[in-house]
């Protein structure tokens, strides 16, 4: 498993997609810096807000491309047969790849986090906001939340890669999963508040969403940016259960992936 993780790390860092997405991430942080100038009252908060969205977007995209690079393409090119020829279980191949994915995600999150930190410190010139942002522990906790969010999406994509015969499917479904999981929180919130008085909408969608929430994790629960932006710390219980939900879902996906992968036949 260690060997698979190491080789995964190496090819993850060498991949052209990784470099392209990483440059995109850096550019997006540049956009976050510029977006701060739009704000008349709280330039640092807006730069931080847009920057957090950029970090989340980049980490998810990176995860999707890494799964594509480390698993889906190996299957597609039949290179995987060499890996599976070792006397180890197929599950350890997947586990190794996921560990590589996690390490790469943490690395990318730290680098993008530092860049964002720099951008936020520079924005706004000498303007002193009435309500300042917190760039210490709250900032890094928010970044950790986005890394965990990306890891859930990576695990989902890995699971799809384990069973899919089309190599772009993990990428496409992974992206759809990331959007749906993130939008689920807003949807539940909207319906819980009575859908702006639209009873018909409430009646038709409430049961559907009530069912979907057992299948799809609410990824917006891993978004703790309000602490860094507005000094509103999330409740310890909320954070605990959100992390538990994410770890549980990752475990579920990886277990399902190894089961599916073990039964898969390569022609």
């Amino acid at each position: 498993m260690f060997e698979f993780a190491l080789s995964g790390l190496r090819s993850g860092l060498r991949g052209k997609n990784f470099q392209a997405v990483f440059i995109l991430g850096v550019l997006m942080i540049g956009i976050a810096y510029l977006s701060g100038f739009f704000s008349p009252r709280h330039p640092k908060t807006v730069a931080l807000d847009v920057g957090f969205s950029a970090v989340r977007f980049s980490l998810i995209l990176l995860n999707l491309f890494w799964v594509q690079e480390l698993v889906a393409r190996e299957i597609d090119r039949r290179v995987i047969l060499f890996s599976l020829a070792y006397p180890v279980s197929r599950a350890s191949f997947l586990a190794g790849r996921f560990v590589a994915l996690l390490v790469l995600t943490v690395l990318a999150a730290v680098v993008l986090g530092f860049l964002l930190l720099l951008a936020v410190l520079l924005v706004g010139g000498g303007y002193v906001q009435e309500f300042d942002v917190s760039l210490g522990i709250p900032f890094w906790i928010a970044i950790a939340g986005f890394a965990l969010d990306a890891a859930v999406v990576g695990a989902f994509s890995l699971c799809i890669a384990a069973l899919s015969t089309v190599s772009v499917l993990p990428l496409a479904l992974g992206a759809a999963f990331a959007v749906a999981g993130k939008a689920l929180g807003a949807t539940i919130d909207y319906l819980a508040r009575g859908a702006d008085g639209d009873d018909e909408l409430l009646a038709s969608y409430d049961p559907v969403v009530g069912f979907v929430r057992w299948l799809l994790p609410d990824l917006s629960r891993l978004d703790w940016r309000e602490w860094a932006m507005y000094q509103l710390a999330p409740g310890a219980e909320t954070v605990f259960w959100s992390v538990t939900m994410a770890v549980g879902y990752i475990g579920l996906l990886l277990a399902a992936a190894s089961l599916l992968f073990a039964r898969r036949e390569f022609s």
């Binding site: 739009f38 704000s39 008349p40 709280h42 807006v46 807000d49 939008a183 689920l184 917006s220």
Partner: protein, 281 residues
């Protein structure tokens, strides 16, 4: 051996360069055509969240940028309706958004979107428990637009525990007391809009608030003169010109926003609800 240049590509190069230069020169003289530069449409909330990759904070910021780049001096009532919708959406995506409530308070109620301003400020007041400004602006809506100083004062007093320094706490309590005691006064409203303008960053936004404040100051001058007229002649003015004829004012102030001033049924000067009709040719 030197290679001779191929005549065809060279000719094509020259012709293209000429064509490009010519078109650029012609285009420089033509204005940019666009349908309507201001706010055209607003998407349903779900579409906005999906477009932002499911990220409601990003959706709030994207809508926020649209509101911020719209040039207020060119906006019509229909544009303000779209802006009101966008600002309601932002308040829903991220009620903590500071620019949103601030711009909402400064622009929406003056342009026929009082309900939207109330919605945005109510959301911000509830979410930003550390910030007294949303409640202050919310109170001002009741004071100035609903002419309900008592409810306005109630919201000012709600804001007091959120203020960190004692001086500001006293100032808020004092203001609430004046509102309750004296009721609505144009001069008070003008002073508050002047304070908002002074608190804004320099630029069009501040100028906009300054014009609003100036207009209220002019109205206050007219109302004071009308009061003096009543004291002197025992009756209210019928036309604003009466104030000039009586020597109370040198001239009737010009409304910077073009709506003009008039006289209500009780003989008190007011700002016209609509701009005057274009004179027939």
């Amino acid at each position: 051996m030197r290679r001779s240049l191929q005549p065809l590509p060279v000719a094509a190069l020259l012709v293209s360069a000429l064509l490009f230069g010519w078109s650029q020169q012609r285009l420089a003289a033509l204005p940019h055509e666009s349908a309507d530069p201001e706010l055209l449409i607003s998407l349903p909330r779900f579409a906005q969240v999906l477009l932002a990759g499911g990220d409601r904070y990003l959706a709030a910021n994207l809508a926020g940028f649209r509101v911020l780049v719209a040039e207020t001096q060119y906006m019509k009532a229909s544009d303000y309706a779209v802006q009101a919708k966008l600002q309601r959406d932002i308040a829903w995506f991220n009620p903590l958004h500071e620019d949103n409530y601030y711009i909402g308070a400064a622009l929406l109620p003056w342009n026929g979107e009082l309900d939207a301003a109330q919605y945005v400020l109510r959301k911000a007041s509830a979410a930003r428990t550390f910030d007294w400004y949303p409640l202050f602006h919310y109170g001002f809506l009741f004071y100035h637009f609903h002419r309900d100083p008592a409810t306005g004062a109630k919201h000012l007093l709600e804001a007091v525990p959120r203020v960190n320094n004692v001086q500001d706490q006293w100032a808020l309590q004092n203001l609430a007391a004046i509102w309750i005691e004296k009721g609505y006064q144009t001069g008070n409203a003008a002073a508050m809009v002047e304070a908002m303008a002074a608190d804004s960053p320099a630029g069009n936004f501040r100028k906009y608030l300054q014009v609003r404040a100036l207009r209220l100051r002019d109205l206050e001058r007219l109302q004071n003169a009308a009061k003096e007229y009543r004291e002197r002649f025992g009756r209210g003015v019928e036309r604003l010109d009466d104030l000039v004829t009586a020597g109370l004012l040198r001239e009737i102030p010009k409304d910077p926003l073009g709506f003009g001033f008039g006289v209500d049924g009780a003989g008190s000067p007011m700002i016209n609800a609509n701009p005057p009709a274009e004179p027939a040719r």
